[in-house]
Amino acid sequence: MIFLALIFYALWAVSLRYDIWMFQQNSYMPSRYYTWFKSDWLANSLSKGLLSPPKVPLVWTRRVIRIVAVSVALGLLLLSLSWKLGGTALLVVMAVLVLLLDKLLVVLANLILSPVEALIRRWYYQDARRILDSHPDLVVIGVTGSYGKTSTKNYLYRILSEKYNVLVTPGNYNTTLGVVRTIREQLKPYHRFFIVEMGAKQPGDIREICRLVRPTVGIVTAVGPMHLETFGSIENVRRTKFELLEALPEDGVGIVNLDSEGIASAKSFPCRGRLLGFGIRSAEADYKAGDVRYSPNGTSFTLEGGSDGRVVYHTPVMGEGNVLDIIGAAVAAEALGVEVGARKTGVSKLAAVEHRLSISTRGGITVIDDAYNSNPEGAAMALDVLQRIEAPEGAKRIVVTPGFVEMGPEQDRACEEFGRHIAEVADGLIVVNRLNRDALCKGAGSMGEALYIAEDLREASAMVARLALPGDIVLYENDLPDSFK
């Protein structure tokens, strides 16, 4: 009997640990948990996933411990009740049920604990608020947008760090909870600026973060058709992003990218403070950028509109989208009091992320490495750079690409379109592997003999070595494997 009990407890421990782990993987959300469970209910009941566990391990946070404790308590309660009411027979039945269905226990435990969790969250929030209150001189900058917010945040961080101590919310901490955590764990008295990236899963999210951090400068990088399932319409997306502008005080500064269609089409901007628009193509921009030039050394552009007249910036970062993000950061830096010399130096030290439109010269050949890009917008931006980059007379522009992956039904059409665009811009195309070979070749058919086929990246690289001469430019575009160098 005791032997059986021990086996039961051992099995229960294994099962419970797995179920908690999966609950954590699903962000403690019962709806997502259920979706996961449904996807293979038999295997998941038997905890088969333990045989090939996911890469992210279980983190034993205090919350996890609380859920485990309550789940165990519930389970023991059920077992003792069933023994009391139905003796050994019912006990055994209940034990088996517990093993198979303890996911329900986990969800129930989570539900029971939810007021506790809410109290804890509120305590952390108020603690963060208290910490911010003890820092009256701290200047908070909010950054939001459908895309470009992480890049803009990082660019601004680099520019401000030339002269100041700056705190920035790390990678994926763009929720209220993430911001609370950043404040409690990383904010120091010597920080002068705090850059907060604000993400929104639904309307009101950004307003909530702003209520906590009270930004005085806000940057809206773009409004586009992302997550339309949750938001419903572009107007709703815009309204949500503009919650940042709404939160700015009268002496604050709102900075918006007028090259973004979703922003430029707004009828009004709910900003009490100063509103500054920037853009390369927009005619209404307060800060107009122009003369964007690409060369093997990087990009240069001019920016006019501030109190320094026309300023010329140089940077290793390439691509119009990235340049727009830099401009947003530069405008913010100026509004924050960073003088022109420090802004220029900061911008010149920005680093292109490796394999994301990074540029280098090897043996006289200019290589544009966009191997990690994975979407058509990025590819279009890369082709734009390829087309415009300064090169000696007669230089060849060559594209090496496997096309796009994981686009589902859209893939063939997108690759064909990509092929057409390449034919307009490039002097040579090397198609890597078979996946999108047909679609790409169809679109780029007009290239005739300048269209090459390679089985894999190694063969493609060998072709480049044969074809490219010093002065030529080679673009490696899209989803090229990790070992790519």
Binding site: I131, S134, H135, R158, S161, N165, K188, P189, Y190, K349
Partner: protein, 395 residues
């Protein structure tokens, strides 16, 4: 929330006690609204302690008792771990006394100012005030300091140097080589001692033998310099970093004999002088110098500071040869006594503001280092099978 400053002092050097004085003075001037001071005392045996009693000079009269009532602590040399741990006693791992934000070393002398402690801090990655490893090591060694300054066109007095092994192997050979380079009188110094320890003048070969023998008991590297007989000493402090630095006013420290001795430096002055360290040394402040000499020295001081890539506050000691009126850089102290607060007071920079600046400089260096590339990622071992051999890469 205040910035937690680990005030690191004491050390395994002859200047352990002086360092206590510097530390106490510094802790009194740290703005209590912005900083929380955590004292960390390094005993002469090299053990680390913390405790409130460590910041009262009177308690050091009975060191054994003081240490017994303090707690032994340590830091782990692990990158990113800024915790100060209590040594021993914890059931599930040692308790954290404090998580520090920045270290302020006020240690003087060997094992303190020469990059050893700085190396530990740099390994941990915690921001710290003062020179980094390179500047500390070069600044501490009189030989390398002179080599670097000479290479930058900064005037230093003629010198000769040797290793104690050469000395013990063939004393006459070393003396002969010296005499080919320099004329007596000379001054013989251990290359890396602080506070004038082990230094002896030599007016002839016999005295040189004695002085060299004496110096070799302290160190392995010995420097011999031309002794300036009509000597005027002038000190000047510099605060800042490579990008921006400024010089203080100059002072002339007073001395009793031919050279400024340990006694002069720390035991001169009136009542209470013993506990006041460099502050109580008799001095002429500001230095009465000829026209243009102050500016010349201040400029040389900044150039020296930059040439050695210093950070924080340093004091550069100059020698003027009254006979030919030439001015030379004698040595640099990368963690000067009392952090040269008296020189900066005279220059109009009060000590508490100076400390603010020092901490800002430390944070700025840390920030700058965080943007420098130290790793290209990737793993050469992964590619090893594909034709790259250990030690030689295939084309």
């Amino acid at each position: 929330m205040k910035t937690k400053v680990g005030l690191l002092f004491g050390g395994r050097s002859v200047e352990n006690e002086i360092s206590v004085v510097t530390a106490v003075q510094t802790s009194e001037s740290l703005d209590a609204d912005r900083y929380e001071v955590v004292p960390i005392y390094i005993s002469k045996q090299g053990r680390w302690y913390t405790g409130d009693g460590l910041l009262k000079v009177e308690n050091y009269r009975d060191l054994t008792r003081l240490l017994a009532s303090s707690s032994e602590v340590y830091m782990k040399p692990l990158y990113g771990d800024y915790n100060l741990y209590l040594n021993g006693g914890g059931l599930f791992g040692d308790k954290v006394v404090a998580t520090l934000d920045v270290i302020l070393p006020t240690l003087h002398g060997t094992n303190c100012e020469d990059g050893t402690v700085q190396g530990v801090l740099a390994s941990i990655g915690i921001p710290f005030v003062g020179c980094g490893v390179l500047a500390s090591a070069n600044g501490m060694d009189k030989i390398t300091m002179k080599m670097i300054l000479r290479g930058c066109g900064i005037p230093v007095v003629d010198y000769f140097w040797f290793n104690d092994k050469s000395w013990y192997a063939d004393r006459d050979k070393v003396a002969d080589a010296l005499e080919k380079t320099l004329k007596y009188p000379v001054i013989v110094k251990p290359a890396n001692s602080g506070s004038s320890v082990g230094i002896r003048p030599a007016h002839n070969r016999e005295e040189f033998f004695e002085a060299a023998e004496y110096a070799c008991t302290f160190t392995t590297r010995i420097i011999v310099e031309r002794l300036i007989t009509a000597l005027k000493e002038v000190n000047c402090s510099v605060i800042g970093n490579y990008e921006e630095c400024e010089a203080s006013v100059c002072e002339v420290p007073q001395r009793s004999g031919e050279i400024l001795t340990y006694e002069d430096k720390y035991k001169g002055g009136g009542k209470g002088a013993k506990s006041k360290g460099m502050r109580s040394t008799k001095r002429e402040l500001p230095a009465k110098l000829a026209d243009g000499e102050t500016e010349y020295i201040q400029d040389l001081a900044c150039r020296t500071f930059r040439a050695l890539s210093c950070d924080g506050v340093a004091r550069i000691d100059f020698m003027k040869d009254e006979d030919d009126r030439r001015i030379y850089v004698n040595e640099i102290n990368t963690i000067p006594g009392s952090l040269s607060s008296y020189l900066w007071d005279a220059a109009g920079l009060p000590f508490d503001k100076a400390i603010d600046r020092l901490i800002d400089i430390a944070l700025a260096r840390s920030r700058e280092e965080s943007f420098k590339i130290t790793d290209f990622g990737g793993n050469i071992f992964k590619d090893l099978g594909k034709g790259a051999r250990m030690g030689k890469f295939s084309k």
